[in-house]
Symmetry: C2
Subunit: 396 residues, 2 copies
């Protein structure tokens, strides 16, 4: 409210003016370091949330098909860029809870990444297969890099996109058994290097330092690893034949790898179609341990301090979570937070974890020290949860 | 401006009110992820800066003696907490460029830290020696933990304060040759564990995962390391006698260790009083390399991707910087950015580095890929540079 005593221009008597000022209710100032978004997949909406108060601040609608959505953030952590399954790329202003821009950039997309300098967004697409680069301010198309292969120039589905230092991006071609690295430091003239890899890469991660790119393979037991500090050495197969002699199970859901499961100098990787988490040492790439878990792991995520790795599972066991102690490589907890646990996100310093329970229409917040529930928030079929601290990390 | 026609309450004549509305010029909304502060040590001021536009946004005065200042940030990255040499603790609102709170909490202080959950600030003090905990919202004193030792309960200077997971804090006692860990998860009832350490710890770092606490020693050649995942094993001496057989040089400036120099599974440590950077493997704590540098190193900082370590030096060589490639452990660059290089800060994803040149009254911004200068900003005797991305890191 605006309150002021003014003098009448005619009779010169004081007038107390009390009025709503045109700008008397601006958006309140607030920091953006503790913000995030929760994808509400069923309704094409996102909730803007705040981790300090553990609450929802607002809801933004009109983002299209969010059945497989991923999110990156602007380097000032004000804007969330939401990549939808339908190829929609929506720029959401977290401070005004409004859509600041939207383009439909492909027919079928599977996520995106943002450059080291924050100026370039890249989408990874299934249809048409390839990557596209956009100005993170205007969403103007900067580059279209088709994932063409073979004599007839067919386009491959692109998976496992990750940003690298130097405004480069690494990604894998599901149909072409390749890892590619595209340098977008001059966005109008992208330069792409190609590396033959294993059969049917389905997702990938880059280590937090941006050095090692590791692609999971659907077409064979093992993973493809590229040392980006020595790319001339080419792709190396790690954990070859990890499932040898075992009965392959039907895969109910593809595991996710991107940017998560590196702890204490080791990578914790879901064994596709198997009830195991594989542990590989980043120094020699040998298998260190193989941890039996309850079901087929989907997300295998390190708590920010790396002391614990939290795992969720594919249907029919997707109500369960398990926690691995990375010091002993033993399971330390098995619990059921809710129905259809689709995703989890740790707070930046790891004191809490937010977990989406799709079929309970809830987001659950747990204390990571004692695994006690701290809060619940209602959400419509929540899936991905993404905090602005991702803006500061490579390979997310 | 506010414009409104109102009626005089007395003569009922219309009055056109034209006035600056109390809230007619609100601070523009902006994200806080790309903000930071530059300490202007000579004038007791800080500049609020923005790394996206590479510019200064505002200046805040009245922070007292900033001759040895350090800064931490609120978990929403809106507020900078500036710890001054005179014991002043000032809460600066980066969005309004104003002082949101200030206490003078000691006679002589040497920095501070913020808890994992962001609710507790801790100052490390020389006089009186100990740590004090404050509410990060109100700056209310929560706990006073004197660093008492010996029969007569003398208080030691405290150095090397670092936050740990679980709202714990590790620090070292210069006068008592001890490392202590205080658990402030119940701030009114702090619990402190004591670990005998080497002679005269002068500063320390905790590895980014919060596991290893490494204190540099002034009183002997070597460092004290405490594995916080196995504290019962006590403190271990690493790099013992690294200067054996060498002529000790006068120490022109104590090196700084906190939270910086871990890259590619190794710690890069300044050899105190020697023209060397020591490289130790975090797996076995053996010396991997000893890199001769131009002079006595002060800050030995890893670029966020860990591929390079940047080093500045003590007087009389403090105009120089050197860059070490962590892959080859060789020097790759030696250059003179300006006079009296006191500090440097990398942008969160490492594409640029901000460098303070005190005697040129400038902050210099370099591209970390080609080490070309991108910009210069005027500043009055700039020293420390701190970006809000610190809010998301343990041990800073």
């Amino acid at each position: 409210m605006f309150r002021k005593v003014v003098k009448c221009a005619i009779c010169w008597m004081p007038v107390l003016l009390v009025s709503a000022c045109a700008t008397s209710q601006p958006q309140p100032l607030r920091g953006t370091g503790d913000l995030g978004v929760v994808i509400e997949r069923a309704t094409g909406q996102v909730q803007v949330i705040e981790t300090t108060g553990r609450r929802a601040l607002a809801q933004v609608s009109g983002l299209g098909d969010l059945s497989h959505a991923s999110v990156v953030f602007s380097r000032d952590s004000r804007y969330a860029y939401v990549f939808g399954r339908d190829g929609g790329l929506t720029k959401v202003d977290l401070l005004t809870a409004s859509i600041a821009g939207r383009v439909v950039q492909a027919g079928n997309a599977i996520g995106g990444a943002i450059s080291q300098d924050g100026r370039i967004l890249v989408a990874q697409n299934y249809e048409p297969g390839g990557i596209k680069a956009f100005d993170s301010d205007t969403l103007e198309l900067l580059a279209d890099v088709p994932a063409s292969y073979g004599a007839d120039g067919k386009r491959s589905k692109v998976v496992g996109l990750a940003d690298l230092p130097g405004n480069r991006f690494a990604y894998a071609l599901f149909d072409a058994n390749e890892i590619r690295v595209t340098d977008l430091s001059d966005p109008k003239n992208p330069k792409t290097d190609r590396y033959p890899a294993g059969k049917q890469p389905y997702d990938a991660l880059v280590t937090p330092d941006g050095r090692y790119y590791i692609a999971g393979l659907f077409g064979e037991d093992g993973l493809s690893m590229l040392d980006l500090w020595q790319p001339e050495k080419g792709v190396r197969t790690i954990l070859p034949g990890y499932g040898r002699g075992e009965q392959a199970l039907p895969v109910y859901k593809m595991p996710h790898l991107r940017g998560w499961a590196v702890a204490a100098g080791r990578a914790y990787l879901p064994a596709i179609g198997r009830h195991e988490v594989l542990v590989v040492d980043l120094d020699d790439w040998k298998e260190v341990a193989r941890i039996p878990v309850k079901s087929q792991p989907v997300f295998v995520m390190a708590r920010p301090d790396g002391r614990e790795v939290w795992v969720n599972f594919a249907f029919p066991d997707n109500a369960w979570m398990q926690v691995i102690d990375t010091f002993s490589n033993r399971l330390v907890d098995t619990f059921q937070p809710g129905r259809a646990i689709l995703h989890m996100e740790f707070t930046p310093k790891g004191e809490a974890v937010w977990i989406s329970a799709r079929d309970d229409n809830k987001v659950l917040i747990y204390d990571t020290r004692n695994r006690q529930k701290l809060a619940e928030l209602p959400a419509a079929s929540p899936s991905g949860i993404f905090f602005t601290s991702r803006a500061f990390r490579t390979g997310f």
